[in-house]
């Protein structure tokens, strides 16, 4: 049959029989294929599903790895930004020079409404002592109130027992209005004991004054604290009450620097 098929022309009997049989079988094939189509699709779907499932697993692992990488990158970027801000703050012409700094990270925070404190991961072993000022890239954070060899407690300037000698800048010919920045139980900061005749306007900058009366303050002069938010003058009061909005976001404290003396 094989030799006959190859030896004859396209119009030969073997080809003719093939044509006839094909014309009979073809509709059956077509119908069968149509009936089988959903089953084939179903099978392919199940097969694809298994394939997709395993692919899904691989993709999930990949997404997890990418997310971890992204999180690490974002954390590094964030830390980088904080460190850059600190360097930039120290390059500011007003910022006190020749200060020795110790970098530290905030490791715990008090959730008590009565205390505004954080714990940092550096202590007396790193040269930190009580009353050292603590800053971050935005400005003054607080001062060290307790020290252990490997950790220290920092009382934030928003704490109700925090007092910082501060000055409002830019001042007039006599200099900026001076006062004491005090925290409160609500977390608000106010500049107290400011002379009633001193001209203070909303938006002016508040910085550490570096002096406490005739004595030197524990905070070096020129550390930015915040901006004047509102000024309250009353005839019956001896002093002005000035609300100050700190530059530091105390809910996002992470990397800080301690000015060691």
């Amino acid at each position: 049959m094989l030799t006959l098929y190859f030896r004859e022309s396209d119009s030969g009997p073997a080809h003719a029989v093939q044509g006839v049989v094909l014309s009979v079988v073809q509709p059956l094939q077509s119908g069968t294929a149509r009936v089988a189509q959903p089953f084939r699709n179903g099978w392919n779907w199940v097969s694809d599903l298994f394939h997709a499932k395993s692919e899904n697993g691989q993709l999930r692992v990949e997404v997890r790895q990418l997310r971890a990488g992204l999180a690490q990158q974002l954390t590094t970027q964030d830390e980088n930004a904080q460190l850059r801000a600190m360097v930039s703050l120290q390059k500011d012409p007003l910022f006190p020079k020749a200060l020795q700094m110790v970098a530290a990270r905030v490791i715990a925070r008090s959730t008590s409404a009565w205390y505004s404190t954080v714990t940092i991961d550096a202590g007396s072993n790193a040269g930190i002592a009580v009353y050292d000022a603590v800053i971050n890239g935005d400005g003054l954070v607080g001062r060290v109130t307790k020290v252990s060899p490997t950790a220290a407690q920092v009382t934030l300037i928003t704490d109700q027992q925090s007092y910082v000698d501060a000055v409002v800048l830019p001042g007039d010919l006599k200099g900026g209005a001076q006062g004491i920045l005090a925290g409160s139980v609500t977390g608000d900061t106010t500049l107290q004991y400011v002379d009633k005749n001193a001209k203070v306007q909303v938006g002016q900058y508040v910085m550490t004054s570096g002096t406490s009366g005739r004595l030197q303050s524990v905070f070096a002069r020129g550390i930015p604290i915040g901006q004047v938010d509102s000024v309250g003058r009353q005839e019956v009061e001896l002093y002005q009450s000035i609300a100050v909005r700190p530059f530091v976001d105390f809910h996002k404290l992470d990397v800080v620097q301690v000015i060691v003396r």
Partner: protein, 185 residues
Amino acid sequence: MMPARTQAEGDWQWPSAADVARLAAALVVAVLLQTTVAPNIRVLGANPDFALVIVVSVALIKGSETGALFGFLTGTFVAIALMEPFGLSAFVFVLVGYLAGRYAETADLSAGFAPLLSAFAATLLADVLFALAQFLLERQVPFGLFLGRVLVPSLILNTLIAAPVYLAVRLWLRGAGDLRVARAR
């Protein structure tokens, strides 16, 4: 060595080594949650008190004496971690642990709201005691602020987290014995 006060001699006996290990792990978790996670969760101006709710949960499961001891250690370690005035948290948590434990020993805990009720009462007691201590330390304690920004938000938050925290603690300590199982025997 542990004191040999047996159940026959008294109501309480020292927990087994497995119990102690599980309680120690719960203590570490409570301190870490309170000092590192809770400060980042701020709702209505307040933070949840995971340590307090874990002390309540342990006391409900293990009884008053274990609850008081666990409360003392949790309060002490939280104060150490935050370098806060030593002893105040320990004192408050001892009371909370003991009272929650007594409640578990004397009341019928079959109702599912016992952890929520205990967390609510413990938060109320702890906040009032902390505020009183601040007052005695001559710090400002404005009543309006205490009520609106401390007490009410923390009551809501701590009651909300009480159910999941209690379930997690119960799951963790279940292998180490359960007060109610012991009482049923």
